[in-house]
């Protein structure tokens, strides 16, 4: 039977399937569906220092094979999340990744520091790419220099591995990935959602109060796969790929273009036990194609 373990360099996961931030709540919500220990890791919903109400409704809009969201990182704040993580630790040994947010660089560093100090947390993912915080979708990951500065500052404050989550809305995502690498990121993950627009003709307004929203789901997979492939060829640190994954085959596509692991997002909403199916499909597909382990295909795309 194929070996599914995923080597991130600084650690090895049981398998490459990580549940994506903002699509898996704080893990607890999925306990009725399956044992979280089967997963490679889980990423907590993005967290700021203080509680945030999130954006006014509507926050979602379905598009063909896709989902626009403007949740606005509603959340209970870092204090409450620490409690939740301690509670979760009693129920599962799955590696927990905290998705760190901030209104400014100082907040990013502060929140990162808080969770770096928690034994229950395996690593941090720096969410410098959320399009729903600032109106117009601006975020640090659109700018390589800002990314470099911010990542360096955060790295100084923490002792845990740091994944930097990139935005597909940057003019040059490869440059931003390289800036993160140079600044000391242990890995990059991509993609966060693509900026999109949906309008309400009757009201002559955007569907969303923030005008723009973030597109996720199967619709974006060919676009995200292209970006992951490009970044994989230009950085040496491990890359965690995501965008529109719904099957084991999709996961292996990302590994083939060079990803060390993947995250699954939107699929969790409409199929709560999707991860169980997907991990099974990876196993079956690798056995069928006689692939012994992921390193055998990782980055092997001939281009």
């Amino acid at each position: 039977m194929a070996d599914l373990s995923a080597n991130l360099g600084f650690c090895t996961l049981k398998n490459p399937v990580i549940t994506a931030s903002g699509t898996f709540g704080y893990g607890e919500e999925f306990l009725p569906f399956y044992d979280l220990d089967i997963l490679g890791a889980i990423v907590m919903k993005g967290i700021f220092k203080e509680p945030r109400p999130g954006n006014p409704p509507p926050r979602l809009h379905e598009t063909p094979a896709g989902l626009l969201n403007s949740i606005g990182l509603a959340g209970p704040g870092s204090g409450k999340l620490q409690e939740i993580i301690r509670r979760l630790r009693a129920k599962t040994t799955v590696p927990v990744i905290v998705n760190v947010c901030g209104e400014d660089d100082g907040e990013f560093a502060e929140v990162a520091g808080i969770f770096s100090a928690m034994d229950e947390v395996a690593m941090l993912e720096l969410n410098i790419s959320c399009p729903n915080v600032k109106k117009g979708g601006a975020c640090p990951a659109q700018d390589a220099k800002h990314t470099f500065r911010l990542v360096r500052r955060v790295k100084e404050r923490i002792r845990k591995p740091l994944i930097v989550k990139l935005s597909p809305n940057a003019a040059d995502i490869v440059a931003v990935a390289q800036a993160a690498e140079e600044a000391g990121a242990d890995a990059v993950s991509l993609v966060n959602t693509f900026l999109g627009l949906a309008v309400d003709l009757d009201k002559r307004q955007s569907v969303f109060a923030n005008t723009l929203a973030g597109l996720s789901g199967p619709a974006i997979k060919p676009l995200a796969l292209k970006l992951v492939w490009e970044v994989c060829r230009q950085v040496r640190i491990p890359v965690i790929g995501m965008g529109g994954i719904t099957s084991g085959r999709d996961v292996l596509d990302y590994i083939l273009v060079g990803a060390a692991a993947v995250q699954i997002g939107t699929v969790n909403f409409y199929e709560p036990a999707a991860a169980v199916r997907i991990i099974g499909e990876i196993q079956a597909e690798m056995d069928k194609l006689k692939i012994k382990d992921l390193s055998e295909i990782r980055g092997q795309l001939q281009a």
Binding site: G25, P57, E62, A65, G66, N69, I71, F269
Partner: protein, 256 residues
């Protein structure tokens, strides 16, 4: 809460663009309480991507019944299914309308809002004094009327906007009088947002305890996407799917 493959045993098209499904889903049926809802995957395809929320009209294990209106793409696809087709159903979801032993309860249902209240009436009628105020655009909008008449209600008040059945008007036109004459302790309501907003204004001066079941766009139905937010009078947001769908009527900030 679980994800169960349900088997459609009967699909009926009713008046007014309504449909009724009888589905074998033993584990969900066993756990369902009045007010709960389910999330249904209407198609194995990736478009539409999300499940659709539907209340549970009736639950007699191993079956549940759904009752829905064709509104858009998802419900249209659903209406094409029939006997022998299967459906992924997640449920039972959300909180429920609690049983209120001994209390006089007025059920207020607009259009498809009948669903959780029918379930409630069926489960608890006979055990407590129930009254129902039920309205719609016209006769075709109330295809469950015959079944409702068969329930042991203390009183049933019908309104239609076009006057084709019952009294002519919005159901809220009849509310004041019914509250005076039947003196309910509690109102349970479900219907269009505009109806609930009007109820909230009208019931404010009354001494009734008021609970309403809300609708919202839902990404997941079990609390993880934060897509179903509704604003409270306090200004904070609540998730309709797992903090609701039933809320105290006065807790919600209704559009004015």
């Amino acid at each position: 809460m679980l994800d169960e493959r349900g088997l459609i045993e009967e699909a009926r098209s009713l008046d007014g663009g309504y449909y009724q499904l009888k589905i074998a889903a033993p584990r969900i049926a066993a756990a369902a309480k009045p007010g709960n809802f389910v999330m249904v995957r209407v198609s194995p395809s990736l478009d539409p991507l999300l499940r659709r929320p539907f209340g549970i009209l009736e639950s007699r294990p191993p079956h549940i019944w759904l009752y829905y209106q064709v509104l858009g793409r998802g419900t249209r696809l659903l209406s094409a299914l029939g006997h022998g087709d299967s459906l992924d159903i997640l449920g039972p979801l959300g909180n429920s309308f609690a049983e209120m032993p001994g209390k006089r309860v007025l059920l207020i249902a607009g259009g498809r809002g009948i669903v959780p209240l029918f379930h409630y009436a069926q489960a608890y009628a006979g055990r407590q004094p129930l009254f129902m105020l039920y309205g719609g655009r016209g006769r075709a909008d109330l295809p469950l009327l015959d079944r409702i008449k068969a329930l042991p209600l203390r009183g049933l008040f019908i309104f239609s906007e076009d006057g084709s059945i019952g009294q002519k008007g919005l159901l809220t036109d009849g509310l004041e009088k019914i509250v005076r004459t039947e003196r309910p302790d509690i109102t349970l309501s479900c219907g269009p947002e505009a109806m609930l907003a009007r109820l909230a204004r009208m019931l404010k001066p009354e001494k009734t305890e008021n609970h309403a079941s809300l609708e919202a766009l839902m990404g997941c139905g079990f609390g993880v996407c934060h897509g179903c937010a509704v604003q409270t009078v306090a200004g904070s947001y609540r998730k309709v799917c797992d903090e609701g769908p039933v809320f105290p009527l006065e807790e919600i900030r209704w559009p004015t």
